[in-house]
């Protein structure tokens, strides 16, 4: 029986997602992999189709009707996304193909020859991340440090999967140029309270970037309230299409940054000898952008706002509590990450005795239960907790307690096969 949470009708929500009525291996689909990518409501798919069938054209360079309509749809989507995250103005949102590109874009702003001192980086300078980052918030900084000779440092983790901030003042210091942190971990589920870190970064004059890939889809995020400088997020995890993500940055910082990719639309004027660049966000959107995808993301943001990010957050928190209790009843199961519903999202990683996650996932799949297994692009977390990989169940606005029950039943079956 689906427990209907107060003020939240999950069945109504589910009816918007066509894929949820499909069967997998003879069982109803139980999709518990929303941290990898979310499913898409009909409203988003309709918006995509309507765009392609109604006013598909290239943007920004056109006086014709189709081009004007496409440009309005694209820029309208930017305004919606900007409002969704509390940006001061639409021009603070740069459309990218995903979070990963957004983080790389910021990493490439730093160099030894940067004109603005805030982006000048060389030997002796430090970038700070954490041990719970997704590879997409590790590799860009490793590559940057290789290019510039700067040093990469990181926060460690406590045994219950939270940021170890005990050495904050030493770690974030006068040499620190940027702190880039995950807002909600995609493997541990941990939600980081970034307040103290932002405060410390401000003291030492370091910039702060948040990887909001797992927070923007799941809770109300307001960049002004957070007080950070940059936020990366990705459309496909928030009911939007693949192929679209975003970087939010304070406008003045975006202006101070050099361009990243070069090409059409990011220029002011071009000669064969030299070129000048457009203002942000155009400066960072070289080539034809993911137009229909932006429109789809705009529709996703409308959809999420219609339900209410507070309501979605509450729903997931209830589910996380329910699931943590239910999983506690499975013998030999060890949750990797916070064991209470406080300060965490609806993503739960665990180990089941010695059984390899691949085997766990495979047996669950035969029951229609789709969980992710592996290092979840956060291998350092696995190393930290001494496991090769984890099994991860992750929830979203359409997840039900019934589905959590199916997971628990599936785990019993796993134990039978491999016990």
């Amino acid at each position: 029986m689906t427990a209907t949470l107060p003020t939240y009708d999950v069945d109504t929500v589910r009816a918007d997602f066509p894929i949820l009525s499909r069967q997998v291996n003879g069982h109803p689909l139980v999709y518990l992999d929303s941290a990898a990518t979310s499913q898409k409501p009909r409203q988003v798919l309709d918006a995509l189709r309507a765009h392609y069938e109604g006013c598909n054209a290239n943007v920004s360079r056109s006086v014709h009707t189709l081009g004007t309509e496409a440009t309005e749809a694209f820029e309208g989507a930017r305004a919606k996304v900007a409002a969704f995250i509390g940006a001061a103005r639409p021009e603070e949102v740069v459309f990218t193909k995903n979070s990963t590109e957004a983080i790389n874009l910021v990493a490439h702003a730093f160099s030894e020859r940067a004109i603005d001192p805030r982006f000048r980086l060389g030997p002796g300078d430090e970038i700070v991340i954490s041990e719970m980052e997704h590879h997409s918030n590790i590799l860009p900084w490793q590559l940057l440090c290789e290019r510039t000779g700067a040093t990469l440092r990181w926060f460690g983790l406590t045994d219950d999967g939270r940021l170890d901030e005990s050495n904050l003042d030493e770690l974030v210091n006068e040499r620190t140029r940027l702190v880039s942190l995950v807002h909600v971990s995609n493997i541990l589920g941990t939600a980081n309270d970034v307040g103290p870190i932002v405060a410390r970064a401000r003291q030492v004059g370091a910039l702060v970037m948040l990887d909001g890939s797992q927070s923007v889809p799941h809770l109300p995020v307001d960049v002004a309230a957070l007080g950070v400088d940059f936020l990366a997020f990705t459309g496909h995890k928030m009911c939007g299409p693949t192929g679209i993500g975003g970087l939010w940055g304070r406008y003045e910082l975006l202006q101070a940054m050099p361009p990243f990719l070069g090409g059409g639309s990011m220029i002011e004027t071009v000669t064969m000898q030299r070129s000048t660049y457009a203002q942000p966000p155009m400066k960072f959107e070289a080539g034809t952008p993911p137009i229909a995808e932006a429109v789809g993301l705009g529709a996703a943001v409308d959809y999420l706002s219609g339900i209410g990010m507070d309501a979605i957050h509450r729903h997931e928190k209830e589910l996380a509590g329910y699931a943590l209790d239910a999983l506690a009843s499975v013998p030999d199961l060890r949750v990797i990450g916070p064991r209470t519903a406080e300060g965490r999202g609806g993503t739960i990683s665990f180990a089941l005795g010695d059984i390899h996650p691949h085997d766990v996932g495979q047996i669950l799949d035969t029951e229609g239960v789709q969980v992710r297994v592996g290092h979840h692009c956060a291998r350092p977390v696995c190393v930290r907790f001494g496991v090769p990989a984890t099994t991860r169940a992750s929830f979203y606005l359409y997840t039900t307690t019934d589905e959590v029950d199916a997971l628990v039943r599936g785990l019993e079956k796993v134990r039978k096969v491999f016990g």
Partner: protein, 154 residues
């Protein structure tokens, strides 16, 4: 048909075909060069001031009928105005252009520039209409600085 007439009002085509004040002239206090990156249109515009009054707006550039006509109208409106009044009219024009056709223009303030009301409904053309006006604002700001420097030096 009505739609295009709305954009290309008789007044606009007139200014386009017979531009007022075209050409770069001396003396001038400040100059600005603006480019529309989406189409490559350009304008170079000069402003001269005397006693806080605009004594000349001269310009040269290439562009479409809308941008040419709006430079001509700009010249016509601004020459002879006190700076503060010029800025107010500039504001009124910018507001009209940003209004997506919803703003009712005041002929008292805008003169021939009311003819550009229709342009506001064509987002891709708003930049054309604003090109010389933005260059004017830039040049005016610089000219004001110049005249302050000169004033304090005298």
């Amino acid at each position: 048909m009505t739609k295009v007439d709305d954009l290309y009002q008789e007044i606009i085509l007139d200014h386009y075909k017979h531009p007022h004040g075209r050409g770069l002239r001396e003396p001038y206090l400040a100059e600005a060069h603006h480019v529309n990156p989406t189409c490559g249109d350009e304008v170079t515009l000069r402003v001269n001031l005397a006693d806080d009054t605009i004594t000349d707006v001269s310009y040269e550039g290439m562009g479409c009928s809308i941008s040419q006509a709006s430079a001509s109208v700009l010249h016509e409106i601004m020459v002879g105005l006190p700076v503060i009044e010029a800025l107010a009219r500039h504001d009124a024009f910018a507001t009209l252009m940003a209004g997506r056709g919803e703003v009712e223009p005041d002929e008292e303030v805008l003169g021939d520039a009311v003819a550009f009301a229709g342009v506001a409904r064509y987002p891709a053309r708003v930049k054309c209409a604003l090109l010389s006006w933005m260059a004017f604002k830039d040049a005016l700001a610089r000219a004001a600085e110049e005249s302050i420097v000169e004033g304090s030096a005298s």
